[in-house]
Assembly symmetry: C2
Homo-oligomer: 159 residues x 2
């Protein structure tokens, strides 16, 4: 039985609350983006690696489902599953949870690409040790219970 990895925790900052009295939609993504930084550290794509190789991850695509309102007293806990990977891409599924709620506040999928920065940015396969770390995390998380709702074509549907 595999399960998602808890990769990051964050309080909700007062300046992230909007006129609706809850966490503004965009700040769910700030927390998720910081969780991707933690995922990069976990996989060895950390600051020393980035400095040494000029390689990093770029976000190609992101899809968010908002399920529950988050309030300014909440502490967010972010889990990650690796859904799929190839030689240079990672498809990761994050969930934002907080103790007050039984179910996730949001699910967020990211498509991430390994690139080398420079005058021209170019995609590059993961080095062997990072590819192995991605595979290890995928094996440990991919079969965990899926998110409440995953990526799909967004459209107005009848009720």
């Amino acid at each position: 039985m595999t399960q998602p990895l808890v990769i990051y925790r964050s309080p909700v900052l007062p300046e992230w609350i909007d006129y609706n009295g809850h966490l503004r939609d965009a700040y769910y993504i700030v927390v998720a983006s910081q969780a991707v930084d933690a995922l990069m550290d976990h996989l060895g794509i950390d600051a020393p690696y980035r400095k040494r190789t000029h390689c990093t991850l770029y976000t190609l695509e992101m899809h968010v489902h908002y399920f529950r309102e988050v309030k300014d007293s909440d502490l967010l806990e972010v889990t990650v599953r690796i859904i799929a990977t190839d030689d240079k891409r990672i498809h990761a599924a994050l969930e934002l949870n907080c103790a007050r709620l039984a179910d996730p506040a949001a699910s967020i999928e990211f498509m991430l690409l390994h690139v080398e920065q420079g005058e021209n940015v170019k995609s590059l396969p993961f080095p062997e040790d990072i590819a192995r770390a991605v595979q290890t995390l995928k094996a440990a998380t991919a079969d965990a219970a899926p998110a409440k709702r995953g990526s799909r074509k967004m459209e107005l549907r009848g009720r």
Copy 2:
């Protein structure tokens, strides 16, 4: 010939730049979220309306494609098209552009729901004047040239 409406402009703040030397993925969404505020004002779902009726828009879903890096000297211009609407939902497509780039830096689709806040949040049809404003904007923008890439099920595809 219809065209997207320029709804919002924003500079890129220095604190939005990450260790990759460009606008962090999450801050594209902060700008887009502020553009949705401007869209709400345009449609009459403004602060006086929200105060009077306790009604507002909640974000249900969001899908982002990142096409280009944005730098700290860039000024972002956000356009909006209304793709679809029903009695209480709006499916809006935003594009983030900056003068330095010939094509969009990102496309962002939002699914927005009209709700009444209170002890229990409940969805509610738009009042007539707002429904008319949504239809007017849809008529003016829906047939504009589509975004470079719209929402789709996210998955690793072969090359």
